[in-house]
């Protein structure tokens, strides 16, 4: 497996730049920070704890996956998590909390696992109509399994699930009988997944894309993105990766609404608002982006369901006051003020 030494040297430089362990954890880089060179000098328990957790998870994952394969009579594709970790120089640098499995018939696979002793967990209402079914736990092994009928994708767009299933390849984890997404497609799918959560939100997710794309022809990645209608999103992601990890010129997004990535810190309230305004223009043609931004703007200018006009104005005032605070600090303050 080819590894891009420049990529991982760039990651080490970025990790060293982060002054707070909490920011590293926010970006999903706490486990990789423990092994970074140069190692951050500050004393902290966070990165070592993350690494121990990653180690324990790495022991549990194969056990869970073997039980899944024994119970499910379908092709099972592992997405993200340990599959991406296999492309890190040290797999413990990539922590994960669940196993995302794509299968042709999710409902049947889910039932098979329950029959085999897996236990559903979490509020069922949260998993109605989304890309995966209610998570499952194997008894005694605390690592959730999420059975997907499709990958997480952009709102209103259809993911290429059939293509992903048809082009599956053996998993890089080495577990017999386990499959995964073909790597070029996996890299682009992870980029779309990350964007669907939060556009250019977290360094760890961008690193996942970069790790999967190591050694692959850029033209092939571009071709896949184009065939899926996400070429603009992919180009924005690629430019961010080139700048963050390979010291290329910082793109416009990194100078306006995704500045937090280059500082390896959490996003501020203002940056979150700018992201909502401007990110659609970095991922879609202007008319579609304008429509998305307009929809979001409308939600900001009108009271939310159950909210009075006074509540909405109060919310906006607090957000303006907290413009330069980390989002988590702002949200904690809002929670404390709730009756």
């Amino acid at each position: 497996m080819s590894r891009d030494a420049d990529l991982w040297a760039g990651v080490d430089r970025l990790v060293a730049r982060s002054p707070r362990s909490a920011d590293l954890r926010y970006h999903g880089l706490d486990s990789i920070a423990a092994a970074a060179t140069p190692r951050p000098a500050r004393p902290d328990m966070t990165t070592r704890a993350a690494r121990r957790t990653a180690a324990a998870t790495s022991l549990i994952a194969p056990l869970v996956l073997q039980r899944v394969l024994a119970a499910v009579d379908q092709r099972v594709l592992l997405m993200k998590g340990p599959e991406v970790a296999a492309h890190y120089p040290d797999p413990l640098g990539r922590r994960y909390r669940d196993l995302d499995l794509l299968v042709p018939d999710a409902a049947a696979a889910w039932e098979s696992l329950v029959d085999a002793g897996f236990e559903p967990t979490g509020d069922p209402a949260l998993y109605v109509g989304i890309h995966h079914l209610r998570p499952l736990l194997a008894p005694g092994l605390p690592l959730m399994v999420e059975i997907h009928h499709e990958p997480k994708w952009l709102d209103g767009r259809t993911p290429p699930t059939g293509e992903l299933l048809e082009t599956a390849v053996p998993s890089a984890t080495g577990i017999p009988g386990l499959w995964t997404l073909e790597r070029t497609r996996h890299a682009v799918a992870v980029a779309v997944h990350a964007w669907a959560h939060t556009p250019l939100g977290h360094l760890g997710r961008l690193l996942d894309v970069a790790a999967l794309a190591q050694g692959l022809e850029r033209s092939l990645l571009q071709q896949v993105a184009r065939s899926w209608g996400v070429e603009r999103l992919w180009t924005t992601t690629q430019h961010a990766i080139d700048s963050l990890f390979h010291d290329a010129r910082r793109p416009l997004a990194g100078r306006v609404w995704a500045r937090h990535l280059w500082s390896a810190r959490e996003r501020t309230v203002l940056e979150r608002h700018l992201q909502n305004w401007l990110a659609p223009f970095a991922a879609a043609p202007a008319p579609d982006a304008a429509r998305a931004t307009g929809t979001w703007l409308l939600t900001q200018l009108t009271p939310a369901p159950g909210e009075t006009r006074a509540d909405q104005l109060r919310r906006a005032t607090v957000a303006a006051r907290d413009a330069f605070k980390r989002v988590s600090e702002h949200d904690a303050g809002v929670d404390r003020s709730q009756p």
Binding site: A34, R51, R52, A55, A56, S58, L59, I60, P62, L63, L92, P139, G140, L141
Partner: protein, 93 residues
């Protein structure tokens, strides 16, 4: 009589994280950890050894006298026996 000692081979998953041991006994889903000296003993047991071999490993690697190392090894082995993690074979010299 000498006894060969070895870690149980079935249903036991483990790995080293820098200088620490992380292990799972799959039979009862219990989690174990050990510091650097415990990791050394664990690794030596994974390959198969004797009590004397374990004592020697500790004294060679750490600044500890044989008597102390012997006591530490005995305590470690007792813990492993209690958890059912050892395979032990006794052979005539």
């Amino acid at each position: 009589m000498s006894g060969e000692l070895r870690l149980r081979r079935d249903d036991l998953a483990w790995r080293a994280v820098e200088d620490e041991l992380i292990a799972i006994d799959v039979r009862d889903s219990s989690y174990l950890s050990a510091n650097d000296s415990g990791l050394l003993l664990w690794r030596t047991l994974a390959e198969g050894t004797t009590r004397e071999g374990l004592v020697a490993a500790l004294t060679e690697r750490f600044d500890v006298d044989p008597a102390t190392a012997g006591a530490d090894v005995d305590a470690f082995l007792a813990d492993l026996r209690e958890r059912g993690l050892l395979d032990e074979a006794v052979s005539a010299d």
